[in-house]
Symmetry: C2
Subunit: 296 residues, 2 copies
Amino acid sequence: MIVADSFEQVRSVVTGKAGLAPTMGYLHEGHLSLFRAAREKSDTVVASIFVNPLQFGPDDDLSRYPRDLDRDHRLAEEAGVDVLFMPPVDEMYPVPPATRIVLDGVADYFEGAYRPGHFEGVAIVVAKLFAGIQPQSAYFGRKDAQQLAVVHRLARDLSFPVEVVPVSTVREADGLALSSRNRFLTAPQRQQALALSRGLLAAADAAEKGELGGLALESLVIAEVDDSGLDLEYVALADSATAQPRAILEGESFLAVAARVGETRLIDNVAFSVEGDLVTVDRGQTLEGPSVLEEE
Amino acid sequence: MIVADSFEQVRSVVTGKAGLAPTMGYLHEGHLSLFRAAREKSDTVVASIFVNPLQFGPDDDLSRYPRDLDRDHRLAEEAGVDVLFMPPVDEMYPVPPATRIVLDGVADYFEGAYRPGHFEGVAIVVAKLFAGIQPQSAYFGRKDAQQLAVVHRLARDLSFPVEVVPVSTVREADGLALSSRNRFLTAPQRQQALALSRGLLAAADAAEKGELGGLALESLVIAEVDDSGLDLEYVALADSATAQPRAILEGESFLAVAARVGETRLIDNVAFSVEGDLVTVDRGQTLEGPSVLEEE
């Protein structure tokens, strides 16, 4: 595995079809599933690790975002990454960019509303990675459902010749969606946090049994979150492509939730696909044992 | 010469280093000088012709922008273009883009102030051409001095691996900068329009003789324009990289003017480079006989 710190170096070592998995590091099995998906379709798998300051707001957790570069290096290499791109901030932003990329509509609600400026930061860093690395395919986790919609739209609107590939959420054996931020949770908070996946999975069950009402599905999540003592930000059913709220489950949709426990903000979702009377749910994949995040 | 109507087709025929010259068609010697500059540095020269609706405001001249595709085809082929990319609007914008690219600072003054939204339109179409064609070099005329600053900044901020190459303005024998919009000028208007280049060239002479004051240089242009009866929009000395106004001639600068004659809006500029006491001016290159625009 080659470690690169500049776009030019990445381009100089890529051969054939490049598959890109952008991350902020502190890798876990969710990231590894991106790398493995990239491995299947690519000649050169490029993973990036960059904690992008522009996607953090003033009240966000940029300064305490977890880092463990030795473990990241080992995990990326084991998962078949060919090029690990770890740019310093001054490679990505040699000067503060004058260019802003704004997505209307798709970035308006949910994360866009609760984290002003977040998707502008995501958009510019993803655009830079697409422009500077020129991947044929790029892998993003379904856990960030709205980000996936933003990236799909960005790639299409700017004519990047890249296939944006969604990869299922990975969950701990008890249902908690993997997140680098899980490491901030105390044992009691971690128990509380299970309300998110419990609520979403209950809604997934109800949808498979024919419940298509957005409010009804959202209520199942709200009930679990309220009981748990988490501080709920939003629960919403939305169109997967446009990230606009939906009243009725149809087409490609996601049911997303965001909540705070103490200082930590958690998000999770399940993805639905409705064809005729058939409702298919992507609940994510569940690990059999503890994730690498639980190892310390 | 291959005529392509999709990004995919362009990518499929490009070999080696691609040089891109984006245009809006109705080609003249200014465009041809872009193609020839591209020819020198590229294995495949791609010229695009696309009258981009997003860079025209509601009061601009989109509907009457001149077109002559047969002549364009002939001139492009003669100038050594390998691929002529003429995308229909629905290849560029299959749906109205949700993505907006905004440049702060560099797009604030001059054209940015007089044509609100213009540089957002320029930025998205140039970003799409860079993303979809992946050129190693791209050629833009110095006549659009602020656009050149915008494109330089966009390419850098988004990490496109493209060299943005400025190409000198081309002028008719009497000094008028070539522009597809010149065809709208009546004979008397064309005489009036000469005030722009006369003023700029007078300022260039003064600068070479040591006049470094922005107001003094601007005054030389204003005097000519006022005498001519043109409707002046702005005259400004600006930093070539940031497109911010400058009070004193230094470093890389341009002196730009915009004015209306009847329904037609004209712009022109000269570019300065100051090193120590030495002032070098790019006045553009002057044709010996009438341009192809005068042929009809």
